[in-house]
């Protein structure tokens, strides 16, 4: 049970779910949630490779950095979503295509 492959499967599943969410949701918040899933899938990989690759705490450090980065990203992205809502009265990202020709 305690094998690298299991972690990788979970991470891959999580990544796929996240990617699916990002690609299919119309709601901006939901897209952000997909992004979070993708980031955490990467985190799992970091930790798993760190543990099974015998790399001490290197992977953990990267995991922490990714979490901090994800928090910052979420803050910026949410601010963008709020601005979109203020301007367009919707958070459907398909409507935010006014720069299209």
């Amino acid at each position: 049970m305690d094998q690298l492959n299991n972690y990788l499967f979970i991470a891959a599943a999580l990544f796929s779910i996240g990617l699916f969410g990002v690609m299919t949701r119309r709601n901006g918040i939901a897209v952000l949630m997909g992004v979070e899933l993708i980031l955490n899938a990467a985190n799992i990989n970091f930790i798993a490779f760190s543990r099974f690759g015998g790399m001490n705490l290197d992977g953990h450090i990267f995991g922490l950095i990714v979490i901090v980065l994800a928090a910052a990203e979420a803050a910026v992205a949410l601010a963008i979503v709020i601005n979109i809502y203020n301007n367009m009265n919707t958070i459907n990202i398909d409507d935010a295509s006014t720069m299209k020709e």
Partner: protein, 681 residues
């Protein structure tokens, strides 16, 4: 700085300053500014006199001062200009300053009421400046520059009355003839510089003595330099300009064509004497001797008083060149000194006569009679006593009568020539030229005096209006007439038959630096040996010439007309100046003009029409093609094509910019997947 150098700077640049003031402000100054020039030239004379007196008190024949500065500095190539002051320079400076001063004073009255009075004085200043530059030069380069400046100022002064076509032509002729000589001068300078690497006389002399330049090259270089002297000193065959240059105002003739400018050539020959090879010297001697004789033979028949003096100047310059050629070059310089005084005086005298004639004719409202023609004069002796006596003194000097200056200097030259002929009997012709010219000189000078001042007036109603000239004109006449006596040139010796005095003590002949030439002692010993014989013969021929002249024109024992008929062709040759101008015209100018026309035809018909125009058409054609290439190919295809391609790409790829976020994510993901698939192979 040495006193001599300082004084020389003043002497050189004061006349230039006067020139600048006169040319720019002359017309607005009171009296048209003649006092500016005159005070400048008097100061110059003052400094020249101080230098002369200090030379006499030092009494050092080896005195020499040199100063120079770098004029052009281009690394290896350097040209230094500077002053060389020795006894010859000091004497020459005094000659120039004295004659120039006299000319300035004389001109006040002579050119009174002239329309270009101030400009005339300006040019006199420029001329004096350039002449002093030649005299002071210690190198061939600056000498050449001032040489050309003398040419320019003589051009300006000869053509002073340029409204007269003859004067304008005369100035042009003088300028161009001098150019011919200057080409030789320049070639000589370049040959010497090429071999020695310096222009300075001292370097040139040491270079020649150490054999850097020798043999034929040295002969050619020396003759090149001498060609410049031939032009300036109007030696055969470049003598043709000087008689025509009499178109200039008479005081100018006295300044340039008697005492200074033509003396520049002799001065140059004296300076470069040490580097002339025996071959060159022989040619120099023959040119000088022939010029002396042949110019004298022309002077016999001239009726224009200034033309007589002009040819006599050419003849006397021939003497000086003859002396250089036969090795007694200090005698040439001595004759230059004495000749400057008496010939300038003769010109002033003729100016005084012409001035008086001019006024008398003016009073009669006669504008057709030539005031310079001796056939209109006669009997002026009592009317113009000062002019007469002063001119008589100078005439005796030039004719070589004992106790006058010309006797001594001419005697020194003839002694040198005779000695040369004794040593080289095959060149006896030189001695014949010398003594023959002496006899003819005595004859035509007294002929001029008799025709002008003696006998009956040829136009009787004119004689009452002939008056002595004003003080400004008689002053120089008295001064220079006095300087025709021997005593001034031989102090402290009183023997009128001996040349020895301050001049021979202070101007010692230098040995030639060309190996194999006679030394100065040998030449001097030879001349000394020949001295008495030369003296007796020269007194004899002078007396013979004067007697003949008296017989022809006073006693009328012989009739000039009959003799002219009897020797018809000689008379014709002489009065027509041996047809030199005509022959030059026929054999040089006209063929040159015809050649120029031919060349102009080639230039216009062939070169211009086919080559230049053809080249233009070719260029036109090429540029049309290249224009086509530029527009049709580069502009249309390359430049516009780039734009069109970019536009096409833009239109094609804008379709994938849907504006839908998830599309982009899909592209990215697809891209990653494609990359991964590619990687895995």
């Amino acid at each position: 700085m040495d006193m001599h150098i300082q004084y020389s700077l003043f002497i050189l640049f004061l006349p230039l300053l006067a020139f600048l003031i006169q040319i720019f402000f002359g017309k607005r100054l009171p009296r048209q500014g003649d006092w500016v020039s005159i005070s400048a030239i008097f100061t110059t004379l003052f400094f020249a006199l101080i230098m002369f007196i200090s030379m006499l008190t030092n009494y050092n024949p080896d005195f020499k001062q040199e100063a120079s500065f770098v004029w052009l500095d281009m690394g290896e190539f350097q040209i230094r200009l500077g002053f060389l002051i020795d006894n010859i320079t000091i004497i020459m400076l005094l000659i120039v300053a004295l004659i120039s001063t006299c000319t300035h004073i004389f001109s006040i009255k002579y050119l009174e009421d002239d329309i270009r009075y101030s400009r005339y004085f300006a040019y006199l200043g420029l001329f004096t400046f350039s002449m002093n530059g030649i005299v002071l030069a210690n190198n061939l380069m600056s000498m050449y520059m001032f040489w050309e400046l003398v040419g320019v100022s003589s051009y300006l002064l000869i053509g002073h009355w340029f409204e007269k076509k003859s004067a304008a032509n005369a100035s042009k002729k003088a300028f161009l003839t001098n150019r011919v000589g200057d080409i030789g001068f320049f070639i000589g300078i370049m040959l010497i510089y090429n071999a020695v690497g310096s222009f300075a006389f001292s370097d040139v002399f040491s270079g020649v003595s150490s054999g850097l330049i020798a043999g034929t090259t040295l002969t050619i270089a020396g003759l090149g330099l001498f060609m410049g002297a031939m032009g300036k000193s109007s030696q055969f065959p470049l003598h043709i300009w000087l008689p025509d240059a009499m178109e200039g105002p008479t005081p100018v003739s006295a300044l340039m064509h008697a005492a200074t400018m033509v003396a520049a050539g002799v001065y140059l020959s004296v300076r470069i004497f040490p580097i002339l090879t025996p071959d060159a010297l022989l040619l120099v001697a023959y040119v000088g001797g022939f010029t002396a004789f042949f110019a004298a033979s022309i002077a016999i028949t001239q009726s224009d008083i200034k033309k007589v003096l002009a040819y006599s100047t050419v003849s006397q310059l021939g003497y000086m060149i003859l002396a250089v050629g036969t090795g007694v070059y200090t005698a040439a310089f001595f004759h230059l000194l004495t000749h400057a005084m008496f010939k300038a005086n003769l010109f002033y005298g003729s100016g005084s006569v012409i001035h008086s004639m001019h006024h008398a004719l003016h009073k009669k409202h006669d504008h057709h009679t030539d005031p310079q023609d001796m056939n209109n004069m006669g009997g002026f002796k009592d009317k113009m006593p000062i002019t007469y006596w002063s001119m008589l003194l100078s005439t005796m000097a030039i004719a070589g009568v004992p106790i006058f200056s010309g006797f001594l200097s001419k005697d020194a030259i003839l002694a040198g020539t005779l000695s040369f002929a004794q040593h080289n009997p095959q060149h006896f012709l030189l001695a014949i030229f010398g003594f023959g010219a002496a006899a003819i000189t005595a004859f035509y000078m007294f002929r001029m005096m008799f025709l002008t001042f003696h006998g009956n007036p040829k136009i009787p109603d004119l004689i009452d209006d002939i008056h002595e000239s004003p003080k400004e004109m008689t002053g120089p006449l008295i001064l220079l007439g006095g300087l025709s006596f021997f005593i001034w040139y031989t102090l402290p010796n009183y023997n009128p038959f001996s040349t020895y005095g301050w001049f021979t003590d202070l101007v010692k002949p230098m040995n030639a630096v060309v190996p194999g030439n006679m030394t100065a002692e040998e030449i001097e010993a030879g001349a000394h040996h020949a001295h008495y014989l030369a003296m007796y013969v020269s007194i004899g021929v002078a007396a013979f010439g004067i007697f003949l002249s008296w017989l022809f024109y006073i006693k009328k024992g012989l009739s000039a007309e009959v003799w002219a008929k009897r020797w018809g062709f000689l008379y014709d040759w002489s009065i027509n100046k041996y047809y030199f101008d005509e022959n030059y015209d026929k054999y040089i100018y006209q063929p040159t003009l015809r050649l120029a026309e031919k060349i102009a035809w080639i230039d216009w018909e062939l070169y211009d029409k086919y080559f230049i125009n053809g080249f233009g058409r070719l260029i036109n054609w090429v540029s049309k093609i290249s224009g086509k290439i530029d527009y049709d190919f580069i502009d249309q295809i390359i430049v516009d094509g780039t734009g069109k391609a970019a536009s096409l790409f833009g239109r094609t790829f804008k379709k994938i910019q849907t504006g839908k976020l998830q599309n982009y994510v899909l592209y990215v993901t697809a891209g990653v997947i494609i990359l991964m698939v590619i990687q895995s192979f």
